[in-house]
């Protein structure tokens, strides 16, 4: 189900419709609504990476992540005819993605129970590849891999809040609107996620020494 933007609480504008700025995501969407395919291409290139990682880093299933990623854009296309600028495009886009994630994954299998084998395997392989690299670069690469592994170990709700914040720079208000939780709960999730990653990296660094 494509969410309506009027459901938003904190991010909901006072007016029913906003006047989009030239070149903004909302204006690009309106241009696509009018039949401008280049507007959609611009919009797609801008959001494809973060949205793709939103699915890939939460699901650990490449095929399922790609399917949901494709479904999200299909819903955007189908809803384009009725699109009205009532909130930020990114909020609307990730609301669609969040709902698809809930519908396809969390109902069947809680994400917290998924073991991030793929990331660990990837990390191990990267470590093996970096054996021949210079020492400073090796340390940096090790830290990045540790971060990736720590992100993968986050609880699902914290991971989603963290990814939305770090990938798109979304505020707690926007994330709470997407995930349909209170603002305070979202702030807590973001804070715990960052602190957990820091502790996880520190722990892994101690283990390596």
């Amino acid at each position: 189900m494509v969410p309506t933007l009027t459901q938003s609480k904190d991010a909901q504008p006072k007016d029913d419709t906003l006047v989009p700025q030239v070149g903004s995501d909302e204006q690009l969407m309106l241009d696509y609504q009018a039949g401008d395919i280049s507007a959609f291409e611009t919009l797609y290139r801008k959001h494809k990476g973060p949205l793709y990682r939103y699915f890939v880093r939460q699901l650990h299933d490449q095929q399922l992540a790609e399917d949901l990623y494709q479904d999200t854009w299909s819903k955007v296309m189908n809803a384009a005819a009725q699109y009205q600028v009532k909130a930020k495009f990114t909020t609307w886009l990730y609301k669609i993605a969040h709902n698809l994630l809930i519908d396809h994954v969390r109902v069947v299998k809680p994400l917290d129970n998924i073991s991030p084998l793929a990331d660990e395997q990837q990390m191990d392989s990267l470590e093996a590849d970096n054996l021949n690299a210079p020492e400073p670069q090796l340390q940096q690469q090790q830290q990045l891999n540790m971060m990736k592994a720590c992100i993968a170990h986050l609880p699902a709700v914290q991971k989603e809040a963290f990814l939305l914040n770090i990938e798109m720079g979304m505020t707690a208000a926007m994330i709470s609107d997407i995930a349909d939780v209170t603002l305070e709960a979202t702030k807590s999730r973001i804070r715990y996620a960052y602190q957990s990653i820091k502790q996880c990296i520190a722990l892994k660094l101690q283990e390596t020494r």
Binding site: Y32, Q33, A34, G35, I37, F40, E41, Y44, K48, G49, Y52, R53, V56, R57, E66, Y69, Q70, W73, S74, M77, N78, A80, A81, Q82, Q140, Q143, L144, M147, K148, I166, R191, Y194, Q195, I197, K198
Partner: protein, 285 residues
């Protein structure tokens, strides 16, 4: 104080992790996936443009307005082109008067005029029948007057369905036919009654006057055609011929009378005895 310190520490932590996060390699969708999604977007573009209503035609936007105008023009055109519809509604568009009231008045006038012009001899019985007919028409006229206010009230509902108007017109026509039938029946009944009364109690002076009138009319009508409606008048004319000693004419007239008024041969008829006497006079000669 500690809250601000916590916030500052968290902001520093956030910045540090963000920098580290964006240094790592970022997963991207494959080129095939990109192409598949963009191809779908290109295919859906036409649908999106159509559904958004940009190309909605003038007819679709003002469908209600156009349909209403077309209906009004159609009804008005029907009324203008077909005068019978105006009658059905009960309105004369040119004069703005209810048609049925005029028809009723014209019907009365024309009826009286036609009767008065067609009757060459003023008979008391006929006059009485006309009076009775007028009365019967007056008794029938309230039906028309009942129908006409209904038609006048329907003026405000011209644009309503035509079926109701058709029914009203049929009802008014039926009322007219019924009134005509009643008038004819009343005329016949009153004529017979008046003839019997007249024949029984006709004063002698009046008979003499009628004889004179018959003579004048016979003179003006030498062919001897019987243009009368009653046996009494014909018998008076026969008596006049006998009085004038016009035997041959009286014989011919008698044959015509018997053909036209066979009731004279009935013993029940009040003029039977008198007629038989004259007949015997004529046949004996």
């Amino acid at each position: 104080m500690s809250q601000q310190q916590d916030d500052a520490e968290f902001t520093a932590l956030q910045t540090e992790i963000k920098q580290a996060y964006h240094q790592q390699s970022m997963e991207q969708p494959s080129a095939e996936l990109d192409e598949a999604i963009l191809a779908k977007a290109r295919a859906a573009r036409h649908v999106v443009a159509k559904q958004s209503g940009v190309t909605k035609s003038l007819w679709q936007r003002n469908a209600w307005l156009f349909s209403t105008a077309a209906s009004v023009i159609l009804v008005a055109g029907l009324f203008i082109l077909n005068p019978s519809l105006q009658q059905q509604v009960g309105i004369n568009l040119e004069q703005g008067l209810p048609e049925q009231q005029m028809d009723a008045q014209q019907f009365d006038v024309e009826n009286v005029m036609s009767k008065s012009s067609s009757e060459t001899i003023r008979n008391a019985a006929v006059e009485q029948s006309i009076v009775v007919e007028g009365m019967s028409m007056r008794t029938a006229s309230p039906k028309l007057e009942q129908a006409s206010p209904a038609s006048v009230s329907d003026e405000a509902l011209i644009d309503n369905t035509l079926t109701g108007k058709m029914q009203m017109q049929e009802a008014s026509q039926q009322a007219l036919v019924e009134s005509q039938k009643q008038a004819k029946a009343a005329k016949q009944a009153t004529a017979a009654e008046a003839a019997q009364l007249k024949a029984a109690a006709l004063p002698i002076r009046q008979q003499e006057k009628e004889f004179k009138l018959m003579k004048q009319q016979l003179e003006s009508n030498p062919k001897g055609h019987i243009e009368l409606d009653t046996a009494e008048v014909a018998f008076a004319r026969l008596q006049a011929l006998m009085a004038d000693n016009k035997i041959k004419q009286a014989e011919g007239y008698m044959i015509t009378m018997e053909q036209r008024f066979p009731e004279l041969l009935s013993p029940v008829h009040p003029l039977y005895e008198q007629y038989q006497k004259i007949k015997a006079q004529l046949t004996s000669q």
